[in-house]
């Protein structure tokens, strides 16, 4: 029995959300739906914790591997496993959904069951994306994640939801198409979909360039990098809270993960020759996102642009090709998932009260909502990378990594951090301090127990990682070293 569990822990983690979905189908009572969905995600969080605890820190390859032939004619397998890189993203993917469900406890009033099923579907698909060892499986689930997100936006979104949903789907499909071409380009030559095998094959020189470009663009749109980011502010601002959290928290991370899993190990030479271009684009994204965030009048758009800025750091770290940079980038992905997710959660809690995302409608919340302001301030300072928060660790490691490449990048990226302080504090001033500007803002009530329960785990995680990131860094160290060494061979 124990081996059935322990040997197939990843399959269990993947199966649990789908089992939960099936169970939801038979439920009618609102509270049953909520508790079942919450329970399902909590089980997965517990499994993820177990996975982390039984993870071997020394091993640099895949662990908990399971392989089953799926379509042998095409060399397609159901193959999953985790290494240090995917472990962190799996943990993040399991950590956020319970909070998303808690945040939707009262705010989702229509089609609750469908909404919960979509959350579980995203979670299940994301877990496969982060653990897949087979490129076909990876791509298939990559596509699956897009659909629930689209429905979340167009069915439960804000006033402009249809246009935002369409924009999201068109961007995503364009990216997916490029990704599909890239993956087919690899597999047709190598004759396998196994990711490990793909990275050891030597491809024909004239195809390398095009495959790399296709893969890179596919990931860059998802991440999103400047100038492919314009879907993000719309999708984020129109999506319901849980949708924004999942989108920012985990879906974007597929882009960064893909770059580390595919682009770097398969085409180290191409990665090296593209690095200057990518690094400059990253820096531009950091500054651009910060610049645009300052001018936003809509809370969620502001957070979305800060996302663009933070994801610039991720590519900056990945393309610095050393342990500091890549580990910083992975940590930045996790920490961005936590802080941006947290930002969307807390903004959503405000939205639940007044149904307004406009910064101008608030002000002086400190008087009526001291708990809310305390938490918001914590997330805001985390977002601009204050030491003792997890963002600082990620950004600092990335900057150490990239400083080995070219010091100019550090200079520009630090400029983005100054902008971060400016726009976050400006937001905080207009929302939390001064006098309330509307009648509605005068009558608000502070966060209740459920809402505190939603945001407190994130606050604790942000500070815990900020003060003691050791366990996470240790977990990925050997896997990252493996990737970095492969890059250094070139």
């Amino acid at each position: 029995m124990s081996s059935l569990f322990a040997d197939h822990i990843l399959s269990w983690m993947i199966a649990v959300p789908f089992i939960g979905m099936v169970a939801l189908m038979f439920l009618r009572e609102r509270s049953w739906v909520l508790y079942t969905a919450l329970g399902t995600t909590l089980i997965n969080a517990a499994l993820a914790f177990y996975l982390w605890m039984s993870f071997d820190l020394i091993e640099n390859g895949q662990q908990f591997v399971e392989r089953v032939e799926w379509m042998p004619t095409f060399g397609i397998q159901y193959a999953v496993g985790v290494d240090g890189i995917s472990l962190l993203l799996v943990l993040l993917t399991a950590f956020l959904p319970p909070l998303c469900i808690l945040s939707s406890w009262e705010s989702i009033t229509t089609r609750l069951k469908a909404f919960m099923m979509l959350i579980l579907l995203v979670e299940g698909a994301m877990l496969v994306v982060f653990t897949a060892l087979d490129a076909f499986l990876f791509f298939m689930m990559w596509e699956v994640t897009m659909i629930p997100m689209y429905f979340m936006i167009v069915l439960w979104g804000g006033p402009n939801r249809v246009a935002a949903g369409l924009k999201y789907v068109i961007y995503s499909l364009t990216g997916s198409l490029l990704l599909l071409m890239g993956i087919l380009g690899l597999s047709l030559q190598a004759g396998t979909f196994d990711i490990q095998a793909l990275s050891q094959f030597s491809y024909s020189p004239n195809s390398e360039f095009w495959i790399f470009i296709a893969l890179f663009l596919g990931f860059a749109i998802k991440l999103p990098m400047l100038p492919f980011h314009t879907w993000l502010p719309d999708a984020h601002s129109e999506a319901p809270t849980a949708g924004s959290v999942l989108l920012a928290g985990v879906l974007l991370k597929m882009g960064g993960y893909g770059l580390i899993r595919f682009c770097l190990p398969i085409f180290p030479e191409m990665a090296h020759s593209f690095a200057p271009f990518v690094l400059w684009l990253s820096v531009a994204g950091i500054l651009y996102g910060g610049y645009m965030a300052l001018a936003q009048t809509d809370l969620k758009r502001l957070v979305a642009y800060s996302s663009v800025s933070h994801m610039g750091f991720v590519t900056l770290g990945i393309f610095s090709f050393n342990n500091e940079g890549v580990e910083g980038a992975i940590l930045q992905m996790v920490t961005h998932g936590l802080t941006t997710g947290a930002m969307f959660l807390i903004v959503g809690q405000l939205y639940d009260r007044t149904h307004s995302r406009s910064i101008a409608d608030y002000g002086g919340l400190q008087q009526r909502m001291p708990r809310f302001v305390a938490i918001l301030s914590l997330f805001a300072v985390a977002s601009f990378g204050l030491p003792t928060t997890s963002n600082f660790i990620g950004e600092f490691l990335i900057l150490v990594g990239v400083s080995y490449q070219n010091f100019a990048f550090v200079v520009f990226a630090m400029g983005g951090i100054v902008l971060g302080a400016a726009y976050m504090l400006w937001m905080l001033q207009r929302v939390a301090f001064g006098e309330p500007r509307t009648e509605a803002a005068r009558k608000l009530t502070d966060l209740d127990f459920r809402e505190m329960l939603t945001v407190t785990p994130l606050a604790i995680a942000i500070i815990a990682i900020g003060v003691y990131p050791g366990p996470l860094l240790e977990a990925m160290d050997s896997s990252v070293t493996f990737v970095v060494e492969r890059l250094a061979e070139v």
Partner: protein, 618 residues
Amino acid sequence: MLQNIWLIPLLPFVSSVLLILTAGRLPRRLIAIMGAGSVGLSALIVLAVGMQFMELQTPYSLTLWVWMQVGNFAPGFSFYIDQLTVVMLSVITGVGFLIHLYSTEFMQDDSDYSRYFAYMNMFVAAMLILVMADNLLLLYLGWEGVGVCSYLLVGFWYKDPVNGAASRKAFVVTRVGDTAMALGLFLLFTELGTLQIQPMLEAANSRWVTGDTIPAIAALLLLGGAVGKSAQLPLHTWLPDAMAGPTPVSALIHAATMVTAGVYLIARTHGLFLLAPDVLMLVALVGLFTLLLAAFTALNQTDIKRILAYSTISQIGYMFLALGVGAWSAGIFHLMTHAFFKALLFLGAGAVVHCLHHEQNIFKMGGLRSKLPIVFWSFLIGSAALAALPFTSGFFSKDQILLSAFELHGTTGISLWIGPWLWAGGLVGAILTAIYSFRLVFIVFYGEAKTEPDRQPGWRMAAPLSLLCILSLIGGYFVLPLASVFPTVAQHQVSHLVEGISISIPLIGVLIAWLVYYKHSLPVEGFTESSLGKALRNFWYSGWAMDKLYDTIIVKPYTGTANAMRGEWLDRIYHGIVSLCQGSHALLSRTQGGKMRWYATSMVFGLIILVTLLGWVS
């Protein structure tokens, strides 16, 4: 005791966390006991550590845990205690405790009593970490931590947006400096492979020779951080506005501790600055210009707290001057004495404001000498020390700085001859200091009463004032054990004339202030009311128009362009693609309009083109 040094920052930190979590539900007495008591306990531990240290004399370090480890990059939560640290710890916890005690009464009627002490304790914890850090990254943590606490405390009375603007300005302007400092950290790490301060300085010394470019750049970047935090030119503009916070906050953060962090940083990394003599010269010049600019401005202010704020900027200018001429101990000595007398002045000003219905304009005060005697004596002693009148604490420290400046014997560039000029500039500053500080005393405490005080300070305000009075008087006789930390400096051997001038200049300043503001017998109105005089006064009053300059060249263009781009102009490219698709769709859909004649015509033309093409190809 030394192995328990981690308790020093932990006690105020724990108290702060408890106060935040209980969110004002505790009784006020308990809040006061926790808030002031935790800092007091830390002060006692510092005292014990200091005693032990006097015997031990060797630096002590303690690693709690490794903060982040990737490759060679492994900064820790590690503390490093040497004589410099002990001096800083004593100032922070000692003066800090007195200010906390004072606050328990000052803030008594405030509804956010608990939040106030939570922030204050958090500040003390961060400041302690800053000076105890054994590596630059942990120092940076404390550095940013005190910045955030300063932000929270300046904007403490959040209902007024003016306070919010002041706190934001304080944070963002210093963050510009912090960014420079962080860049310095990256540079030092990539070049030397460590951020641990002592090994790093040793590595720097063995790797580079005096005058190399890279240590100069690194020192310059660290100087950027120091300039921001210590409110020196050109990043000084935030400090006067930061007076928006409660007055004890100004005393603790914006006079005694945080603003001197820049001085500490430079002193701590003096080994690096010694490798970059040009940057060291720049430190001295920044100090000189700042002290003059701020002194002129202080002379023209009417708000009691803004006068003291500019005075702080000016006095830190003296510390920078000291560092720049290599008088490290003198700089730290002045840091300490300044902490005593400026905290005293701020707390005195707080008492005045507290007892006068929150009046801050000195021209609406007057005649308070007999009505608030304790405050009067505090101010008198504080001003005497600030003006560096003989035998007060400020006299000893400032005298050392000026004489060291006079004696500067550099080896290159302008440092060969600039010493006497720095001295002369410092003297101009000294006379201005004496004038503006006694201007304050004469206007506020003499003349006719304009506002009646409605209360007297209680013992919790009076006791800290009295203790600080004593410290301001005798602080000059303390001998700081800094000899082992800094390179030795030769004894002063200047002529009696130079010494005599240095001593008498402040007395002349006091005399001028007495004639102008007490006797009204110097006809200065003739000048101050002329158009040139008015223009100069306005120029100085506005802090040399620096705020306006920054607003015009940085803030407005930035917000302007950001607002102009708000609607995501990059989307226009994608909208172009959409329009292209829609246009071609419209064009092509015309071809399928269901009109038989159109189909027939196009079929015929198509056939003709096809046949022609076929013929042409074959």
